[in-house]
C-alpha cells in the first residue's frame, strides 16, 4: 500500500509540471545572476562557486516545500491516509522520498552544468554532486518536519522559514566546505561523513517526528 501511495504521488507531481519546474528555474536563475552582478573574473567566481551553488540549492529546496503535505492537508487527503491501515511514519517517508525525487534530484543533476559555468574544477564538481546527493534529502526531511508543525496555521510561510533555516545551516556548512576542500585538492572525506551521518539521522527520526506533528495538526 505504501508503494501505491509513493507511485501515485509521483504521478500527481508529474501532472503538475509547472509547479515542479519553478524551484529548478529559480536555482538556475539565482546562479546565473551572480556572474552578471559580480564580475566575470574566473578566479573570483571559482572561489565563490561553492557558496553560490549551495545557497541557491538551499533556497530552492525551501521554496519547493510548499508542495509537500500542505495540499494533502487542505484537500483532506491526509485525513483519509491516516485512516488507512498503514503506518503514518511510513507514509511520510514515502511522501518525502517522492518529493525529493522531483525536487532535490533535478537540482543535483543540474549542478555540474552550473558548476562549470562558474569555472569550478572537476574535483569541485564531483564533490558538489556528491554533497548535494547527500544534502538535499536532508533538506527535504527537515522541511517535512517543519511543514508538519505548521500544518494547521494560516500563514505558515514565514514561520516555516524561521523554523527550518537554522536546521539547514549545518548542511550548508558541510556542503560548501566539502566543495571548497575538494577544489583546493585536500581530502574531502570528513564533510561527507558528517553529511551522511545527518542523512541517516534525518531518515530515522524525522518521519516519526513529522507523524506526531501531523496528528496534532489534524485534531
Amino acid at each position: 500500500m505504501l508503494r501505491q501511495f509513493w507511485h501515485y504521488d509521483l504521478v500527481a507531481c508529474f501532472r503538475s509540471r509547472a509547479e515542479l519546474l519553478l524551484p529548478v528555474i529559480f536555482f538556475i536563475m539565482v546562479v546565473a545572476l551572480f556572474p552578471m552582478a559580480l564580475s566575470v573574473d574566473p578566479a573570483l567566481l571559482q572561489a565563490m562557486a561553492p557558496a553560490i551553488l549551495w545557497v541557491a540549492a538551499l533556497l530552492s529546496a525551501l521554496m519547493a516545500l510548499n508542495g509537500l503535505l500542505r495540499q494533502d492537508h487542505a484537500d483532506g487527503f491526509l485525513e483519509q491516509s491516516l485512516l488507512c491501515p498503514v503506518s503514518l511514519p511510513g507514509l511520510i517517508f514515502a511522501k518525502v522520498w517522492a518529493h525529493w525525487l522531483v525536487t532535490g534530484l533535478p537540482l543535483t543533476l543540474l549542478a555540474p552544468i552550473l558548476g562549470k559555468m562558474l569555472y569550478l574544477s572537476w574535483q569541485g564538481i564531483g564533490a558538489l554532486v556528491l554533497s548535494l546527493l547527500l544534502g538535499t534529502p536532508i533538506l527535504s526531511f527537515i522541511g517535512a518536519a517543519g511543514v508538519g508543525l505548521t500544518l494547521g496555521l494560516r500563514n505558515a510561510g514565514l514561520l516555516l522559514t524561521l523554523l527550518v533555516l537554522p536546521l539547514y545551516v549545518p548542511v550548508l556548512i558541510f556542503g560548501t566546505s566539502s566543495v571548497m576542500t575538494a577544489t583546493l585538492g585536500f581530502p574531502v572525506i570528513a564533510p561527507f561523513f558528517f553529511l551522511a551521518a545527518m542523512l541517516v539521522l534525518a531518515v530515522t527520526f524525522v518521519p516519526w517526528a513529522t507523524a506526531a506533528a501531523v496528528r496534532i495538526g489534524l485534531s
Partner: protein, 207 residues
C-alpha cells in the same frame, strides 16, 4: 459480503473539547450491526467533531469508543481497516483521475474491478478517466462515496453525505446505505434533512 462478529459500535461517556470550549459531554450510544444512527443538531454543536472522535482523528477529552467489543485505540491499524470516514473535505487528489483516486486506497488483494463496480454503483463510471479537478461538487461527492464502497469496511461514518448530491444521487445513496446496513454494516451519519430509509431501524441522536 461484509462479514464480522456482532456487537457493532458502542460509545461510552464521550466528551469533546474544542479550543477549550465544551462541545458535548457524556455521550453514550450503541449501534448494532444493521443499524443506522442519525446524528442531528444545530450548526456548530459538534456533529463533525463527534464523527472525527469516533474514527480517531480527534482525541476525545474523555470516554471510549468500542468496536466489536474492543477499544478502538487498542489496535488502531486494525480498527482503521474496518472504518470508512467521509468528512467535509473529501480527500480526492485534483491531479489524479477518478479511478486512480480510488485505486490508491484499495487494500492488498483487492483488484481494480472493485473500483469499477463501486463507480458503476454510484453512477459515475463514465467519469473514471477524468481528472478530479474537472468534476463538479456533486460528482466529487459521489466519487468519494464510491471510494468508501470500494474499501469494503463495515463501519461507515458519514458527515453530511447528502451535500451537493442531486435527487437521483440521493436515491442511489439511500439504496447503497440500505444495502450496506442489510448486509450487517453500521452507519453513523449526520444530516440536516430527515432521512428516509425504508425498512431500516434508524436511531436518532440529538446533540
Amino acid at each position: 459480503m461484509v462479514d464480522f462478529l456482532d456487537q457493532g459500535l458502542s460509545v461510552k461517556k464521550l466528551t469533546c473539547l474544542r479550543n477549550d470550549r465544551l462541545l458535548f459531554r457524556g455521550i453514550d450510544f450503541t449501534c448494532k450491526p444493521g443499524e443506522v444512527m442519525h446524528v442531528h443538531g444545530a450548526n456548530g454543536v459538534g456533529k463533525s467533531s463527534l464523527l472525527r472522535s469516533l474514527c480517531g482523528l480527534l482525541e476525545p477529552a474523555e470516554g471510549e469508543v468500542y468496536w466489536q467489543g474492543r477499544l478502538s485505540t487498542a489496535d488502531p491499524i486494525q480498527f482503521h481497516q474496518s472504518v470508512g470516514y467521509l468528512g467535509h473535505k473529501l480527500g480526492l487528489k485534483d491531479r489524479l483521475s477518478v479511478a486512480e483516486n480510488i485505486n490508491l486506497f484499495l487494500m492488498k488483494g483487492q483488484s481494480a474491478d472493485r473500483t469499477e463496480w463501486a463507480l458503476e454503483r454510484l453512477g459515475v463510471l463514465s467519469l473514471k478517466n477524468q481528472l478530479c479537478d474537472t468534476l463538479s461538487a456533486g460528482q466529487k461527492q459521489r466519487v468519494a462515496l464510491a471510494r468508501l464502497l470500494a474499501k469494503n469496511c463495515p463501519l461507515w461514518l458519514l458527515d453530511e453525505p447528502f451535500t451537493a448530491v442531486d435527487r437521483e444521487g440521493i436515491q442511489i445513496l439511500e439504496a447503497v446505505l440500505t444495502e450496506h446496513v442489510n448486509e450487517g454494516g453500521v452507519v453513523v451519519l449526520t444530516s440536516h434533512q430527515p432521512i428516509s430509509l425504508s425498512a431500516l431501524s434508524i436511531q436518532t441522536l440529538a446533540i
